[in-house]
Subunit: 109 residues, 2 copies
DNA sequence: TGAACATATGAACAGTTATTCATACGTTTA
DNA sequence: TAAACGTATGAATAACTGTTCATATGTTCA
């Protein structure tokens, strides 16, 4: 009885973003695909915090936190400012919050 | 001159979702963190399609597509219906579109 | 300048993941 | 029932990822 299914390959291809964009998108989501990074972002939802404190709060090593912050920084998801020996990290913008909320909605149903 | 930074660990902890939720969230994003799966989802934005055709369209093996669809199915992101030998996949709901759009916004800036 | 502290980073390792190959399962039709 | 076709799946492999450890970099203060 068949509902209508796609057979117009060209149409589908035309609607699909270019490879570079798809790659970037996957890379972005990869970043959210790790609990340590998600937790770091949740911390930063509340405000800025230094590396040491984030490590303590999450119960992971300073090195691990620093490595993950590097990735978040690379994706422009977080900012940092130095104050003496200490570096304080904060969210780069409100997009992060939106993305996380988007995913949360899917979970809660 | 130091802006206000977080030092109330308890407050931050209270605002953080429980570990199970954070785990689920990361698992969800992991799924979007792969170009093959993202491409499959983009195909399904246009309508339903059978496994064979998706494989051809993306230029990957039938097996690879099937493996990835299994993951998408497991996360309830796609549905399927069987029609004879053929299985047609489609999006489970509109959340997927929202999540992808959310990420896309961050990319384009 | 040297010691102490906070952070960053490279290398190594263990765990995870996507693809491929071979094959099993399910359905149709001759 | 047997053959043909579409799909699913287990095992194996190569590539990738997160953490740890050791150490470098950068900053402050005595």
């Amino acid at each position: 009885m068949a509902e209508q299914h796609l057979d117009d390959f060209e149409g589908v291809k035309a609607a699909m973003p270019d490879d570079e964009m798809l790659y970037d998108l996957a890379e972005l989501y990869k970043i959210f695909g790790d609990t340590t990074r998600i937790k770091l972002l949740y911390i930063l939802f509340e405000g800025e915090m230094c590396v040491q404190h984030m490590a303590e709060l999450l119960g992971v090593s300073q090195s691990a936190v620093s490595h993950q912050l590097r990735i978040l920084k690379g994706a422009r998801l977080v900012r940092y400012r130095r104050e003496g020996k200490t570096v304080y990290y904060s969210l780069a913008d409100d997009h992060v919050r939106q993305i996380i909320e988007c995913g949360t909605e899917h979970i809660n149903e």
